[in-house]
């Protein structure tokens, strides 16, 4: 390593590279690695067999399946509409654009339980719009779409803003129509931002609790998502069951993030 040699030439960082690296490792360990390890350890406390049996519970499995399935739909919707919203906010100018731009962040600013309450009031049994989705799987989707709205929009927006318009003009002068320009020039440049926004919304949808807990009614095997199931197991003193489902959620999130990371790495090398 040329670290020693580099020190003389570069501006010294406060405390040096080794110290800052150590600090980051410690911080991440305390904040992320240790709790994660604790969950996994709790789940596996009574051996892999007990862990598997806890996951293989019918109620646990349906909760996990529902969570993953709805999260996938959420991601698909967000990729399309998030990109569309970002496009309109960057490329179009219309009265009230700034207001709309501000509204995008509302799901971030609102405490999720308040979001759930709002959705229940609006789309619940006594809602003013006459659409009642409360206590259905549609309610799960609705709540998750609401809280994950900003992710794709906010990751695509800056990239789109910085995109060199002359690339599109060059493509047009070379004979490309609007659709070809979008497919071959704009989309490839937006893909990394769309993917990272999608990953964030998937992760968020996987673990969301506050906004779904009121509106879905938590009907076992019907509208109960994984996080609510975990909460229920803790309340009925089944810590191992809770930890087992948590471990599954963790594994799913990890696999998704890893796959996306690998794809991104391959794209960069290409």
């Amino acid at each position: 390593m040329a670290l020693g040699a580099a020190r003389g030439r570069r501006l010294p960082r406060p405390g040096g590279a080794a110290l800052s690296r150590g600090l980051i490792a410690l911080y991440l360990s305390l904040l992320v690695l240790l709790p994660v390890a604790a969950v996994v350890a709790k789940g596996a406390e009574r051996g892999p067999r007990a862990l598997w049996e806890a996951i293989a519970q019918h109620e646990a499995l349906t909760a996990l399946a529902l969570t993953v399935a709805v999260s996938v739909v959420v991601v698909a919707v967000n990729v399309v509409f998030g990109t569309l919203i970002a496009w309109v906010l960057v490329r179009d100018s219309f009265p009230g654009r700034r207001l709309v731009d501000g509204v995008i962040d509302l799901p971030f600013a609102l405490p999720t339980i308040v979001a759930g309450l709002t959705l229940l009031a609006l789309y619940g049994p006594q809602g003013p719009v006459g659409i009642n989705v409360a206590f259905t799987r549609g309610a799960v989707l609705l709540a998750l779409l609401f809280v994950t709205l900003p992710f794709v929009v906010r990751s695509v927006q800056p990239v789109l803003r910085e995109l060199d318009r002359s690339m599109e003009e060059a493509a047009a002068s070379l004979g490309a129509g609007p659709w070809t320009v979008f497919r071959r020039i704009i989309a490839p440049n937006l893909t990394p931002a769309i993917v990272s926004g999608a990953a964030l919304s998937f992760a968020r949808a996987l673990g969301e609790f506050g906004s779904v807990v009121l509106i879905t009614g938590n009907l076992p095997n019907r509208t109960e998502v994984a996080s609510v199931y975990v909460f229920g197991q803790i309340q009925s003193d089944n810590v191992v069951g809770a930890a087992a489902v948590s471990t599954s959620l963790l594994a799913i999130a990890l696999v998704v993030l890893l796959v996306l990371g690998l794809l991104d790495g391959r794209r960069r090398r290409a």
Partner: protein
Amino acid sequence: MAIEVHDVHKRFGDFAALSDICLRVEPGSLGAVLGPSGSGKSTLLRVIAGLEQPDSGRVLIGGRDVTREPPQRRGVGFVFQHYAAFKHMTVRDNVAFALRIRRRAKPEVLARVDELLALVRLEGLADRYPGQLSGGQRQRMALARALAAEPQVLLLDEPFGALDARVRAELREWLRRLHDEVHVTTLFVTHDQQEAMEISEQVVVMNEGGVEQVGTPRELYEHPRTEFVMSFVGEVNRVGERFVRPHEVQLLPQSDAGSREGFIDRVLHLGFEVRVGLTLDDGDQVWSQTTRERADELELEVGQIVPVRLGGGRVFA
């Protein structure tokens, strides 16, 4: 194919970017549009390419009215000042773009791309990404890309503007020779009068959204029609109402009828050329351009007073 522009007007809000532009570029010629920034020269080029719509007027390419055609149907190659490289594609894919979207056969595309890369001398760099190229290489790639689909017309918007002086000079020379080989009707925009005069046969001088004069470099230099052309094309001294070129300010060994006196402020030795800064007897400051031999003969030094004759010169109403 000839480029014709008839009575084109274009406004951006309150700003008249182009007013009443008429222009004809001969088939196969290499023309320059010269003007200061804000003179409308880039807008004119973008109107020809279809990247801007004129408010009124017509654009014809090869006799065909393309005013309402989108850029992709004009058969125009366009080169941008900042390259507009497709940064997510390799050099090869950049150059192949126009051929691929036309669904040409794969072997044909590859052969054509290789040919173009050889033409712009980027053979070894086909698998690089634009980010791994220098500015000059990126611009050559952009040129190859623009030429791939054999456009009827090649338009270059300040193509060397972002490059350093040495690379600029190289690419100018190279563009000149490329045009001799390819013979596509070419129009390029520049604010650099030397660049315009070095490369092109016909120069269009623009100012404040209008065409000031069209002519060969020599015509513009020797017979400028307006004060603006006189001062923008070549250097100029202003003495009272008269405009005099620096080489027309002659320094004499002794005074004669019609000569005036000048006080030497500066003497700059620029190799073959020597420039002398003078203050004339009535306070006007002028530059004189002379050869090294002449300067040595006269033994010019700062602080001397020398006889000066102002030859030529023009007065604009």
